[in-house]
Amino acid sequence: MALIDDVDFGTPARPSAATVTLLIDGAPVTVPEGTSIMRAAQEVSRPIPKLCATDKLEPFGSCRMCLVEIEGVRGTPASCTTPVREGMNVTTQNARLERIRKGVMELYISDHPLDCLTCAANGDCELQDTAGEVGLREVRYGMDGANHFDAQVKDPIDVSNPYFQFEPSKCIACSRCVRACDEVQGTLALTLEGRGFASKISAGLEMDDFFSSECVSCGACVQACPTATLMEKSVVDHGVPTRSVETTCAYCGVGCSFKAELKGSEVVRMVPSKSGGANEGHSCVKGRFAWGYASHKDRITTPMVRESATDPWRKASWDEAIDFIATRFKDIQARHGKGAIGGITSSRCTNEEVYVVQKMIRAAFGNNNVDTCARVCHSPTGYGLKTTFGTSAGTQNFKSVEQADVILLIGANPTDGHPVFASRMKRRLRRGAKIIVVDPRRIDLVRTPHIEAAHHVPLRPGTNVAVMNAFAHTIVTEGLVDEAFVAQRCDMVEFERWRSFVSEPENAPEALAEKVGVDAETLRAAARTFAAAPNGAIYYGLGVTEHSQGSTMVMCMANLAMATGNIGREGVGVNPLRGQNNVQGSCDMGSFPHELPGYRHISDADTRALFEGDWGVHLHDQPGLRIPNMLDAAMDGSFRGIFVQGEDIAQSDPNTKHVQAALAAMDCVVVQDLFLNETAAHAHVFLPGTSFLEKDGTFTNAERRINRVRPVMAEKSGLSEWETVCRVARAMGYPMHYDHPSQIMDEIARLTPSFAGVSFARLDRDGSLQWPVNDAHPDGAPIMHVDGFVRGKGRFMITRYVPTEERSNRHFPLILTTGRILSQYNVGQQTRRTANSLWHPEDVLEIHPHDAEERGIVDGDPVSINSRVGATTLHARISDRMAPGVVYTTFHHPLSGANVITTEFSDWATNCPEYKVTAVQVNKSNLPSDWQAHREEFVAEHYRVTEPAE
């Protein structure tokens, strides 16, 4: 339940063009055909008592509270399961219905503990509310008979889940939790065990508790429960919240809307908003529960400085810290030139915070040395989709997947990485859509209860482009191209070039099968399935982009979508599943060295003139340095100062030792973050950042949806991040001032055509907007390229497969690929500081039984993983999810050093690192690697803080 509830209509909306008019208690109401009487009654504000019904779930008809009378119909049908009919005359309340409802409620309460005053749900209980509504005054059966709540008979409370508890004695067996797990989350972890009086909710097998079960802790059951049976432990501990602030989750690129429910400024719980466009009332374990890091004791809330990165930290005032930065940066520029400093924006921060950082760099630093962490994740998406379609963004809204017939999922693992979208996808798959999974690993969506992939293409890491070319070859040579679409929407010269290219025999599945490691018939069959779909939708993740041919691969998918006519309507499209909450936004805001906000090239004089006029400065017309260029330049001494906003390049970027050496070579490293991260170990200035609970601004999710982030508490550091940046800019000599973050968005809208209609006021009114928001799309654009591509004609690109130079050999015979897991998030700065670590206390190396046996490795053994650039030690988990020859790990824990082994290879167009392919050797080992041993000492040395003298 949510305390500050949206109206619950009892049953889901039934979108239908046809309408039905009926009378409810004499009031006429017109609703879409298929609507339930219960929902229609709520439409005219005649709520009908209910217990088992809620509008997130299909009607069930078990509680018998919602009975109504219908003129000319015998008996008292349940209003939740009875659809409206034309001319119906419904009575929702009279003496007979009142008597029946009271009678049913008496039965419920006769087996329910009467401890309302001390119950965790007191004030937030639908059972209590409904008892009040029906006027229950006595329980004629007494409370003495067989029951589920007496101390001698009641089942113990299951507290195994760290975030919520299950108290069976309070259960009314309405099955809302079971149905939420089935219908909303799609995990089906719960069941109603037994029958009759012995019925009870069970999390799977007899030996299972919630923690050991298949439960993924998304919280849907807790939200669905009308009693205190399933309850957040934070509410049990602190009581029901008293106020609520609508905001946006700061974990992945799904961008779920939440109500932060509070007492004072203390968050009691986060409840997903039904009105949230991205999540429509659903959540995952991270957004719903893993927000405790915001008040973790490790948070640094005062600025700190030090002369040298080997000195202990010294706490400083804001003024001192900002002066320190400006003095050092100006000194570096005086000695080494304007281009000797730069900065990195963060995809975790708001659009407004990112915008001011890139503005500071371009206007106050006077160069274009700005880059962003999207460099290491989705930069190829921007490049590839801009080249082919004309815009650097996914084409669909999330809801579009509900119209897809075939889903082609490439290099993404949504059930772990984008769980709330995965639930939408699973719902569609359970209703009959097919899925093709292209992934080296057997991810959950290959086979999970009630879902089985039509095809799994377990390709060798690094052969994406070969797979896509084989698909394209099959489609072109078997006559499966949507010729009409191509002729109408695409550049025919480019198309014909592409057609003859993919028809070449070297692109035939038979020719590529061996390189890919998948037989030709599987490749052909998968291609045919996709081409035959009325609506074929492509979803992809970092398994596409983080390769030496990342940009090529994005263009491959765009080609495929165009050739099969799958662009420009619901149910189709090319959809990047963005990693971070605001990676779309940080790219939109001009975070790349070659682009001003709105993806306009810095070399374009008109665009520059627009910004120069508004900002009152001269802008350099050449692109600045990318992150890897900055690091290389640091090594040769020409780049000496960096401002790092909310990012941990020393853990997240490839070849950790190189990153560390580059940072150590600089004269001034400034880190703005919540915690002393790995990068901060090399910093001279630490500026305390703000958590999403303290931010006022906007995030833009993977579907281009701009959502408001609203502060629920004051900044713990006393200063917003955007104001901090403005002060640094002013100290550097550039007057940058805003009174409120809404003024930053106003400036963005003024200077960026795709954001022209965006403002805080508009977002507060409409909830969210999907860019472009301008004269052509005044209410935004959930689906792009509807009547034509942004660039005019769609452009087919030649995509020749070039194998990566990183390949297995005698010394490094295995291929390591990396990914993430549901409970942890990226470098883990946040999730590791929550109970989520119970599910994933350490990163492990997944290795195939054959590869393990060859090396004498058994499950749980410590193993060393060596690549040509570094080594680390992890525990092994024997798993057949990968093909032999491929090993897998995650990178959530700093000590794992996953990026100590990844190499300097990167995408040819954008320098996005090739995280997904590293040739390694794995051996049994009992010792930490040299790097790991060194890290312990290093961290102890570099994290020291001097306490001020008394």
Binding site: A189, L205, R447, P449, S879
Partner: protein, 171 residues
């Protein structure tokens, strides 16, 4: 832990245990069809005497169902046992017709004679006594089955004799 992926669970070496073998055989017999789940439980119970909890994970995996779904179906039917039962199972009807013909005192007498509580198994594991709700033999109430064979107009003595006959032991 489900969240670290049930599919990623370590693969143990060695031969499959008899339960897993039985599951593989029986699921294969029905082509892994989820709608044959109840038949599979019957076959398992016929073969093993009960449906052990350890059978549920492999069944769920083969049928691509969740553990909860499989457990929900199994626990719904009283006729399926998850623990071993006696060599002879006595089911005594206590639906309306049989009750009117003295089923309740009869059950007490049977339990007494066989030295076992209702719904449980005798100490030596020879006999289990369970209540059932209508065997469809109302005209010959009170009714009971002994070792799966239906008998009408039973009394405690006859039931005990039938049990002795089948087990070779005195009740």
């Amino acid at each position: 832990m489900a969240m670290t992926r049930q599919n990623a669970a370590p693969i143990s070496g060695g031969d499959p245990d008899p339960v897993t073998e039985a599951v593989d055989l029986i699921c294969g017999r029905y082509g892994d069809r989820p709608d044959a789940l109840i038949e599979m439980f019957h076959d398992l119970q016929d073969g093993l005497g009960h449906v052990p909890e350890t059978a549920l994970k492999p069944i769920a995996k083969r049928l691509n169902l969740s553990r909860a779904e499989v457990h929900g179906v199994l626990s719904f039917y009283h006729d399926f046992h998850t623990k071993p039962v006696g060599r002879v199972v006595v089911k005594v009807c206590r639906a309306e017709a049989c009750q009117s013909m003295g089923a309740l005192p009869l059950i007490a007498q049977i339990c007494d004679r066989l030295g076992v509580g209702l719904g449980s198994t005798s100490a030596g594991g020879s006999v289990t006594v369970e209540p059932v709700y209508c065997l469809g033999n109302c005209a010959l109430a009170p009714a009971a089955t002994v070792g799966g064979v239906l008998h009408g107009r039973v009394d405690a003595e006859r039931v005990a004799a039938l049990v002795t006959e089948m087990t070779g032991e005195a009740g």
